[in-house]
């Protein structure tokens, strides 16, 4: 457990090393990046192996930092952090395997990629709100450059929109945190201290601050109607960056809502609860319906991400132990599945056929040309639809059951969203991979043969597939970490009251 902070340090060190190595040889930069990501995954799994779930977060580091403001370098981890740290390790490793073929400015690509990963690890391990915020913003800038430099469709637009949405969201969070600290007379930025300060504020201010902080974070989580950066950003991003964006970056927002907004301002949360729940439910159905009519393959996946993140937000809004632990499970599950879907679309299909238009793909017998991609996508699609045996099933089921106890109607509408998800997933599987079934392999539509799926891609896909099946068959692996963490005093202020 005590080795967890090294995930952060190795990622940043790896970023520098990749930059230096990239100046000499692209292969060296790739190797550095892969080793760094594997080290992060290894540290996460090592910590997981020795983890005994308890309520209180375990302190990993606690040093005075900015004395005059009471800010400390305070890292801590509980089951929720650990889940997301492991997810980050998985997504980072898979992302590097799927960007093995990047040829342009390789060192810089992996340096930015690893810097982003370092920021993400930092957010998941921070126990001081200031430190949390620092890492949260560190993750913004690399995203911009990853997309603007190595992206595809309308990359500069997508990158700028993403950066501005993220930064505007974080500005709201910053305003809320400073407000709490200064007006509440806090002595520092540790979460319990801020919660104590927030409790002294008048109710109206708490409601306003919760709005700032929660919706600031929810912007990055893709909560309807703040989600519009997500599809354009995902589509514009290079494959590895889409995988990270959907896989872990959107989780940063949801994690911020869960770790900071809810426990600090329970009073504010209960005022906003109904609105948040409905926005989440609307997002699930609305994004699903939009995904149903997209003609760009990647946009379908982009909107499906927004829809699935709606489940996370619904779990948080329902605010009982079952729904919230389901939300964490869904963060993990969606991180893995979305990574897989984006890998197939961006790397396996688009970089080979150079088109993502469903109409054009329909004319190709992709299931024969790249069968591995077809099988992977079908499995990932089934997982994404929430079929039993894959991680999406226990996650969404837990959330729906939790939401039912809070408000029946939310669960009903969200369940309709599951049907929509099945519809758009089946449609896209059918159209993209099995459009051209009978007849000859119409390779004539292509002016070049498709290169075979590389070993790196196969490894990355298998890693993610194995994870989703493992968690699908044994969701308790994660739920056993998460449920005790929700017993900590900070979460009890919200989670207990929410259970009828």
């Amino acid at each position: 457990m005590n080795a967890l902070p090294w995930t952060i340090y190795t990622a940043f060190a790896g970023a520098l090393l990749a930059l230096v190595a990239g100046a000499r040889s692209a292969t060296a930069a790739r190797a550095v990046a892969l080793l760094t990501a594997l080290a992060g995954l290894g540290l996460g799994l090592f910590a997981a192996a020795g983890f005994t779930p308890v309520a209180a977060p375990q302190v990993l580091a606690d040093l005075p930092w900015i004395a005059s403001l009471g800010i400390r370098y305070h890292l801590a981890a509980d089951g929720i952090s650990l889940t997301l740290v492991v997810l980050t390790g998985l997504a980072a490793t898979a992302g590097i395997l799927f960007s093995w073929n990047i040829e342009e400015r390789v060192g810089e690509f992996f340096a930015l990629y690893l810097a982003l990963i370092g920021g993400v690890y930092g957010v998941f391990l921070s126990a001081d709100a200031f430190l949390f915020f620092v890492f949260y913003e560190i993750a913004i800038v690399p995203k911009y450059f990853l997309i603007a430099n190595w992206g595809s469709t309308r990359r500069e637009y997508g990158a700028m929109k993403l950066a501005l949405y993220s930064f505007a969201g974080s500005a709201l969070v910053l305003a809320g945190l400073i407000w709490t600290y200064a007006a509440g007379g806090a002595q520092g930025f540790s979460l319990p201290e801020l919660a104590r300060a927030a409790a002294t504020l008048p109710r109206g201010e708490v409601i306003a601050i919760f709005g700032l902080v929660f919706f600031g974070f929810a912007t990055l989580a893709g909560l309807f109607p703040l989600h519009t950066w997500a599809p354009t950003g995902h589509v514009a991003a290079p494959t590895a960056a889409s995988m990270l964006l959907a896989g872990v970056v959107m989780k940063l927002g949801a994690y911020g809502c869960l770790r900071v907004a809810l426990p600090l301002y329970p009073e504010g949360f209960f005022w906003w609860q109904g609105i948040i729940g409905w926005l989440a439910v609307i997002g699930i159905v609305y994004a699903g319906l939009i995904a149903l009519v997209q003609d760009d393959f990647k946009f379908v996946i982009g909107y499906s991400s927004v829809s699935h993140m709606g489940f996370v937000m619904l779990g948080l809004a329902a605010a009982n132990a079952r729904a919230v632990s389901g939300a964490v499970l869904q963060m993990f599950s969606h991180g893995v599945i979305a990574g897989l879907l984006f890998a197939v679309v961006g790397r396996m299909v688009y970089e080979r056929t150079h088109t993502r238009q469903l109409e054009a793909l329909q004319a190709l017998p992709l299931h024969r040309l790249i069968p591995f991609a077809a099988v992977t996508f079908v499995l990932a699609g089934l997982a994404s639809m929430g079929l039993p045996g894959f991680s999406g099933f226990p996650a969404e089921l837990t959330i729906l059951m939790g939401a039912w106890t809070t408000r029946h109607l939310w669960a009903l509408v969200a369940a309709a969203g599951v049907l929509v998800a099945a519809a758009f997933t089946l449609r896209v599987i059918q159209v993209s991979f099995f459009g051209q079934t009978g007849g000859s392999p119409a390779a004539g539509h292509l002016d070049h043969p498709l290169e075979p799926i590389s070993l790196a891609e196969k490894l990355g896909a298998l890693l993610l597939l194995a994870t989703t099946v493992l968690i699908g068959l044994k969701p308790d692996l994660i739920l056993d970490w998460v449920t005790p963490a929700l017993q900590s005093p900070l979460f009890q202020a919200v989670v207990q009251k929410g259970t009828p």
Binding site: W65, I66, A67, S68, L69, E108, F130, F133, V134, E137, I138, I140, V141, Y144, F145, A148, N149, E156, M160, A163, L164, F167, A168, A171, L172, L174, A175, I178, W179, Y181, A182, A183, E205
Partner: protein
């Protein structure tokens, strides 16, 4: 009396060293520089100047805070020592920028003028008296006017100098008028005596006029809206090192002087701007100027295509945040304000340094002129990234901590019950607007491909060292902000 003069001399050692080294710079150039190439003369001048600045910096720091000097004309407290050190560090950075920029025809005179301006800055940092304060501002300003118009080959430089001079002269008139009224009201030119006299003075029309006059002059010095009009033209036309000096050291010195005047001398007529229970005073006026600067600076910067004008509007926006820091320093002390002004100076001088290097290799005015900098010079692109991200306030760079400290201090004045809290929220939200134009610079430098005819860039060693040191400072002070915050506390 002798002891008094000994004290005075002791306090003025840094100024003396700067003056002597300015004379040495000119003398050496006259004696040995005549038949040498310009580049060698410039190196020699900068080298001598830098030695003087470093010596002054070390002596200023080692003498430390000695308190009131020469019957209270100067105040050498912890803040003054820190402000002097900050000003000298920024002047040193500017001298580094001088080596990067194209060589002027009178390099020794240029360096000497920078040093004379620095003497003015040092006096601004310690003056505790109206007359000395005014003289210090004038000494600095007149040097800066000449520095702005130093490039006689370009009409833009002359235009910049003329605009800067005309507006500056008018603001000096305002300042002098305001000071004379203050003297008339309080019967003294020493800040503590003025503060004492004003305790028993109700707010009178005459006092209001005096305050407004002083604030107008201050708004000009800080390039705050609506007194900002000179800034974009001066930044665009002036030689790059001059622009760097105007944007960095000059601003820090101005804030130091006006912090001492407004809170030390006029603190009793600051008024109370709590919403609903306000009493008149200068706080409300400064709050309005801050809001105007934040809004105008950030939104006008969005429309700029010229890098220097963009940096000028960003400077106006930062002036708004600095004024917020000035408002908050009445309660929180000058720590956050000082940290913000010093680190802002480093970042903006560094950005001008990058432009100065580029000027040697072709046009460097429009955003598009930066295209493909990452191919032309990875070093310049990397340091520019640090400078711009620090200006944008991205952690873990110093610009973020500065903003954070200022906003916290502003909020601590009374939360949302005072305009300071609302201004802090406004500034935080506008930082998202600011990110757009900062990213426009970085997009050109780090994403766009270079123009077909763009020459590769070779960065001179001293300039490279300067830029790297500035970037390292921004990272180091961002990660360990207490280093600088402790200096003032």
């Amino acid at each position: 009396m002798n002891a008094l003069y000994a004290d005075l001399f002791h306090a003025l050692v840094p100024e003396t060293i700067l003056t002597v080294s300015a004379l040495l710079v000119i003398g050496f150039d006259l004696a040995v520089g005549r038949r040498r190439p310009l580049a060698a003369r410039q190196t020699l001048a900068v080298f001598l100047g830098a030695i003087g600045v470093v010596t002054a910096l070390v002596i200023g720091l080692s003498n430390g805070a000695v308190g009131s000097v020469f019957g209270g004309a100067m105040m050498l407290d912890a803040f003054a020592v820190a402000a002097r050190a900050g000003v000298l560090a920024l002047v040193l950075l500017t001298l580094g920028v001088v080596t990067a920029a194209p060589v002027t025809r009178q390099p020794a005179e240029y360096v000497a003028l920078v040093l004379f301006a620095a003497v003015g800055f040092l006096q601004m940092a310690v003056a505790q008296q109206l007359l000395l304060g005014f003289l210090a501002v004038e000494l600095a300003s007149i040097s800066l006017y000449v520095l702005a118009g130093f490039d006689k080959t370009r009409p833009e430089s002359a235009e910049a100098a003329l605009k800067y001079f005309l507006v500056g002269a008018i603001s000096a008139a305002f300042m002098l008028f305001g000071f004379s009224l203050l003297y008339g009201i309080a019967g003294s030119i020493a800040f503590p005596d003025i503060a004492h006299a004003l305790i028993y003075q109700p707010m009178s029309p005459l006092l209001a006029v005096a305050l407004v006059m002083v604030l107008v002059a201050f708004g000009f010095k800080a390039a705050a809206a609506p007194f900002h009009l000179w800034a974009p033209d001066a930044y665009q036309g002036a030689p790059t090192p001059s622009a760097a000096l105007i944007a960095s050291a000059s601003k820090l010195a101005g804030l130091a002087l006006f912090w001492r005047l407004l809170w030390g001398g006029l603190g009793t007529v600051a008024g109370n701007f709590t919403l609903g229970h306000g009493t008149p005073g200068w706080l409300s006026i400064v709050a309005v100027i801050a809001a105007a600067s934040l809004l105008l600076g950030n939104f006008a910067a969005l429309a700029q295509h010229n890098v220097r004008r963009l940096l000028a509007y960003s400077a106006i926006a930062h002036a708004g945040a600095l004024l917020l820091g000035l408002i908050a320093s009445g309660q929180a002390g000058p720590g956050p304000l000082y940290y913000y002004a010093a680190t802002y100076g480093i970042a903006t001088a560094g950005a001008f340094g990058v432009l100065a290097v580029l000027e040697n290799f072709g046009r460097c005015q429009d955003l598009a002129d930066l295209a493909g900098l990452h191919r032309r010079s990875p070093l310049l692109a990397a340091t520019l990234l640090v400078f711009i991200l620090s200006l944008a306030g991205i952690p873990p760079l110093a610009g973020f901590v500065g903003k954070f400290a200022v906003f916290v201090a502003a909020f601590q004045m009374g939360g949302i019950a005072t305009p300071a809290g609302w201004l802090a929220i406004l500034a935080i939200l506008l930082s998202a607007v600011a990110l757009y134009y900062y990213l426009m610079i970085l997009k050109q430098a780090l994403v766009a491909a270079p123009a077909a005819d763009a020459a590769p860039v070779k960065v001179p060693a001293i300039a490279a060292l300067t830029l790297l040191a500035a970037a390292a400072l921004l990272i180091g002070l961002g990660v360990f902000p207490s280093l600088l915050l402790q200096l003032v506390a």
